[in-house]
Assembly symmetry: C2
Homo-oligomer: 333 residues x 2
DNA sequence: ACATTTTTTGCAACCGGTTGCAAAAACTGA
DNA sequence: TCAGTTTTTGCAACCGGTTGCAAAAAATGT
């Protein structure tokens, strides 16, 4: 079928090694030899088989891109950026959907069978066992959007979720809200836990501000909407909510609107992520921007570095977030 | 590092072939032998290297999943479903982002280097040359969401876009709209062309109905919003619009709302896709549902069939769409 | 022109598997 | 028990590449 090394060698009348060398950079080939080989290769439409090559080089340039989040539109941006940046770096993403996988060992085995050079875990909700399992198997891992920890076990690139919580809290206080609430994603997600603790911490110095909390089942529109409806049925709403993320916020907004309340006059909302949709005029969500492009670029750079230095000491790379003011919080007084 | 066939063979005190055979189903191994080998493999944590295997079997179980659409949220659903279904079928998606690739040959070469068993082109906007290039290179291709044609050159799974156009037209007429418009995606996309021609055709029998048309730059919120703003500045709007897809429709809705007009009282909108978001209460878009899960399942099944029968005669598999009535068209009179 | 150094080339073994073939082992039936 | 048949096993070649090593060729210095 497709031409092989041998075919090219025969056609050019040279040894197989010569052909191999013309296609591996850094190898010693004379210019005349290279010409001859390239000509033959051209005529046969030859290009080297990466997988055969990987057998000896032990490099496939395949990177497992694993996630369990295929319902939050922000992840489309994430996949877009990851695939682009990986491609630019000469790597290829093997996409793995872990939505209904619970055993890390399965994923590890699967990815080992494909000899991936490394794994990017792109999720803020996947249990940390997954990243650890890869590390334990000796596969380089970067956990993007993962939990920051002072002594990270695996490489983490993301934001300081606790700081985001504090940031949201300060912003709400600054705008004069005195009855605020946290409406998080699933309580089991580390991102939710950290945002919550930061939020509460920052409010500890403000005895005049009361805080309540609740958790949606997922980072999704429906979950946000449902949770907010529940809250509205049960109680008078708080004056302002820090929501787990943007898509959750949009669900919350929808519930508020249905209840006949006005944003930001009756209720304030601040989200997190600044996904594309947050800027849509009909949504116009005030939110904390997570610099996803930077996180992803840095993740890939880190991965590239790790390919050369697998035992690199685990580090945490955190990016700062900033508030994007739109129309869902009342103006500063 | 990881245990190899040879390690297992030595540990079990048998030949390498014996080990190989225990891990290839359909091979002849006695039960005793199998036990011995499995024990040794277990102890060493061995599992076979798929890529080495592929060298002789000529099967990698890698499928190129290529798309250029990383901005339309519907594609997150598409990726979710594709990855799941491929995984279920024992295949692995190698994700390729063709957003800024213009030369089909590059993609073909790249995927050949990874010896993919086949390629799924998941896009309604990628030029047909891409699919053709794969076919010409002898790589099995399925074009999902591609253009239907009576004599397809490659396997196509999707919907009959012209029929959708007719369906939209009939629906608008039925609801008494007499001044209707088509607001498509990019004019170069075959899906847009077909939807448009179907729409116009169906209206040919209705001399009392006037049609106008325009095209947004992309299937995106911004493009839809911008195009609608342009229309509103230039003219009185039509009574109802058939929009290229849902995300475009949402942009259009946003422009209409900003202009102080009411939907469906002042302007009617019908979209296409029925993406998750179309059902959000704050959007509540009447739309034509494209059965994406069926399309994707069928695409993967077709791909699996092609792996066994590469020269299968190209077929087109079309699924019918149906109108999902929500709140953006006025009620039937 | 020659000896010396440097560069280029081919040989052969290897990466981690599979598989056709023939020998060995295990069954059959009488 | 033994010849005949069937099943299981190992050998060795192969898949499509890479690479250490030594020999061949080219470049260098005098």
């Amino acid at each position: 079928m497709a031409a092989t090394l041998k075919d090219v060698a025969e056609r050019a009348g040279v040894s197989r090694s010569a052909v191999s060398r013309t296609f591996t950079d850094g190898a010693s080939v004379s210019i005349k030899m290279r010409r001859k080989v390239e000509k033959a290769a051209q005529e046969l439409g030859y290009s080297p088989n990466f997988l055969a090559r990987s057998l000896t080089t032990r490099r496939t340039k395949l990177i497992g891109l694993i996630s369990n989040n295929f319902h939050n539109p922000i992840f489309l941006e994430v996949f877009d950026l990851f695939t682009r940046k990986l491609q630019e770096s000469g790597l290829r993403p093997l996409l793995v959907n872990l939505s209904d996988e619970t055993d890390p060992q399965n994923s590890v085995r699967m990815l080992q069978q494909y000899s991936v050079d490394g794994v990017v875990v792109a999720s803020s909700t996947l249990p940390p066992e997954f990243s650890k399992a890869f590390r334990d198997a000796g596969v380089p891992v970067v956990n993007s959007f993962g939990r920051y920890s002072a002594a990270p076990q695996v490489h983490v690139v993301g934001i300081d979720n606790a700081e985001c919580g504090r940031m949201a809290a300060r912003e709400l206080v600054k705008r004069g809200y005195r009855k605020v609430a946290f409406l998080g994603g699933p309580e089991s997600a580390t991102s939710t836990q950290d945002r919550f603790s930061g939020f509460v911490n920052a409010l500890a110095n403000h005895p005049d501000v009361t805080v309540t909390q609740s958790f949606a089942e997922a980072y999704s529109f429906d979950a946000g909407r449902k949770e907010m409806q529940r809250l509205l049925d049960a109680d008078r709403p708080a004056e302002a909510y820090f929501c787990g993320d943007d898509v959750l916020s949009i669900g919350v907004l929808s519930a508020i609107e249905d209840a006949g309340l006005k944003v930001p006059d009756d209720v304030g909302i601040i989200g997190l992520n600044d996904m594309e949709m947050a800027g849509w005029e009909s949504i116009n969500l005030t939110t904390i921007r997570q610099p996803i492009a930077q996180i992803i670029n840095s993740s890939v750079e880190l991965m590239v570095a790790m390919l050369d230095e697998p035992d690199r000491y685990p580090e945490a790379r955190l990016f700062s977030c900033k508030i994007i003011e739109r129309g869902t919080l009342r103006p500063k007084t």
